[in-house]
Amino acid sequence: MHTDQRARTPFRLSSLLLVSVLSIASIGLVAAHDGTHGLAHETGVAKGGDFTLDSTAGPVALKQFRGKVVVLYFGYTFCPDACPTTLSALGGAMRSLTPADATQIQPLFITLDPARDDVKRMAEYSRFFYPTMLGLRGSEERLAAVAKQYGVLFAKQKVDSAANYVVDHSSFLYVVGTDGKLSRSVPYGAPPLEIAAALRAALPHSAK
């Protein structure tokens, strides 16, 4: 930053150090204020695992889909961009599969905005993209726990907009194998055929 001689004096050095310490402290504060969840993804410790959330038909547990492949997406219905794009791609992927394969795959859409998304809204929103896609919701605490399990990053962010707040979020599809274990994640922007290939790869009996 400073290339002149004075920058090397002990005084300058100590003030630089102080500034650095303060910057790091404020980054910490900002992160805490943001309420960013699920840093697990960045550190590569996303493990996946079971959860139970709510739907219009009552509680839905990941466990009840053992023997099927489950594909998860986390987002919110207020989202006009990444969520409809990804869910459309997922719908396209499901429709590209053989009917036999498609019945072996359960798509789930999980809200990160429980304050605005009730189970009814989630159900209708999900069904629009694929008829068997279920929309799930839970309390903020439960959703934060599930998001953390899967390494989903999200943060509620107040914005100067009629939308009042948005939910910043990472945008991966998570493929859970027939054994209930997280098998792989598919990044945002993957075309439907690539998503379909990832789903078929997780099906034990599919013609690959």
């Binding site: 006009p80 629009f128 009629a162 990044p187």
Partner: protein
């Protein structure tokens, strides 16, 4: 619906008048079809500026929603972040594309669910004092099926 159609007719007339100036033109405006329960949606288009001065899109209005705002999406810290913006600039002799994952006009608080094929009237306001009125059809989200091995670009 009647009011929509009427508005669409006026929008066409206005659009024709505005186009006579020639500097700014709008290509392929369309509204993203979202589930009937969705309260918001995005409008995408290409804004072309044939003039010699840079212009800025500074606002939008539509009878289809309580509010129309200018937004963008940024990718930061592994997250998609949607943010309102004050303006969207279009360079002289240039164009700016409003597209998914990028700039868009966001309709917030849709007054009624949109159907595929509906026409949404939209007025765009620019910093040179001009405005453009247009009609944007509601279209299904088109995701290219893509090769299975392709890496995502956007």
């Amino acid at each position: 619906m009647k009011r929509f159609l009427l508005a669409a007719v006026f929008a066409t007339l206005w659009a024709g008048a505005a186009l006579a100036d020639g500097a700014i033109s709008i290509g392929d405006p369309h509204v993203r079809l979202v589930p009937p329960t969705a309260e918001n949606t995005g409008i995408f288009m290409v804004i072309r500026n044939q003039g010699d001065k840079d212009v800025k899109l500074i606002g939008a209005d539509s009878p289809a929603s309580k509010k129309a705002e200018l937004h963008t999406v940024i990718e930061e810290g592994g997250m998609k972040k949607m943010r309102p913006v004050h303006d969207i600039s279009v360079k002289a002799k240039g164009e700016t594309v409003l597209k998914p994952g990028d700039y868009h006009v966001m309709l917030i608080g849709l007054t009624k669910p949109l159907q595929e094929g509906d026409i949404v009237p939209l007025t765009l306001r620019f910093d040179d004092g001009s405005s453009q009125s247009l009609q944007a059809p509601v279209r299904k989200i088109q995701v290219p099926m893509g090769p299975a091995a392709a890496m995502p670009t956007k």
